[in-house]
Symmetry: C2
Subunit: 228 residues, 2 copies
């Protein structure tokens, strides 16, 4: 902690004075008291990014799904479980944020019915009806005075097509794309940054280094936007 | 670690010479590369039990679903994700075990189809067809020379009825029952032991102490069975 504080002290502070609202981790959509639908997300990339943002001088509010990670020093953490809880926590804070970064692997769908008691096994099959969850990132990006919005795209194929599509469709400023086979669960990651200028691959590195690379790119973009 | 080793050295060893095969944690049933169905289980109760079994002198093999916990000292850990992987890992080892303890929150159902690529959002609804997973505990208990089988029952209601029902239906020797609202995710637990003699409630305590209570009861039962 002393080492981190020292490094932070001597670090340049390109995001000083900026409030960054972000999400990380998976969401958990209950089916009954013991079962649910979730996404694969250790939260490591999001938490590394939260640390990098604090190091760069930002005030960081982290709305987090259930993960087994300690809260990074200097980060205000709001714990949630479902996509709708995450949506509520984000929308309460979005208008006051300078930057919004959606790293969480938000469940696109939730169970239509949530059983109050544990569903007992009965029969060979079971059908679960799902319904769409709110699209938090798209909603924040459509706000009248939207913060600078950064999305993440985890894809299993066609990363370029899907990530640039997400950039345009949700009117984001930056999308961090990665192939799920490259990053999920592990301690390293390989990502490609997509913005209005095209795509910028970052080298494979630890999630801490990748986070620093993303923050550096974000700081340059914010700087260019301020001077435009 | 030194403290644990010292305590372990002076501890009585009622399970010395016994091989205990056990499961812990949740299972994860993929729907596509980023989504899946899971159960709420931190693995804490199972891992506390694995430690208590080692302290009592047992050789412990722990087949574990995805959890964020370190492997207890002296435990052989086999990592799995799905119920079918857990089933395979257990059945490979069950014949040589003296005791089998099924603590894992095994998903009863898995998705019929697992998409190779991430399912893209499309439309307001989505239906997932599920099919039954193997019942690992019942299958181990039905082996010709079955180990002494211990089950766990996490219920949201009617604990007595469901836990004694599980004892009889799966031909188990002991069922550890708890209400999900009492234990899941937390560091303490309150359980009731169900065996042929009836029910034995243990006081609410840390998962470490509850585990020691379960092991003491198990050791008395094994001793009684050996002297019968």
């Amino acid at each position: 902690a002393i080492r981190e504080a020292l490094i932070a002290f001597f670090q340049p502070k390109p995001l000083s004075g900026k409030t960054v609202l972000m999400t990380a981790g998976p969401t958990y959509e209950p089916i009954d008291p013991v079962r649910g639908i979730t996404n694969i997300s250790s939260g490591k990339m999001g938490y590394a990014l939260a640390r990098a943002l604090v190091m760069a001088g930002a005030k960081v509010q982290l709305v987090s799904g259930p993960v087994a990670l300690p809260t990074p020093q200097g980060v205000e953490r709001i714990d949630v479980h479902t996509a709708r809880e995450m949506h509520r926590a984000v929308m309460l804070r979005a208008a006051k944020a300078d930057v919004f970064v959606g790293v969480a692997a938000v469940a696109d769908y939730r169970s239509v019915e949530v059983a109050i008691d544990k569903i007992k096994k009965a029969g060979e099959g079971l059908t679960i009806e799902l319904t769409r969850n709110p699209d938090i990132l798209a909603e924040v990006a459509s706000l009248p005075a939207a913060p600078f919005c950064v999305g993440f795209a985890a894809e299993s194929q066609n990363l370029d097509v899907y990530a640039s599509g997400k950039l345009a469709a949700k009117r984001l400023k930056l999308v961090v794309g990665n192939l799920v086979q490259d990053g999920m669960g592990g301690d390293t990651n390989q990502v490609v940054l997509f913005d209005a200028d095209g795509s910028h691959p970052l080298p494979r590195a630890s999630k801490t280094e990748v986070a620093a690379g993303i923050v550096a790119h974000l700081a340059r973009m914010l700087d260019a936007a301020a001077n435009a």
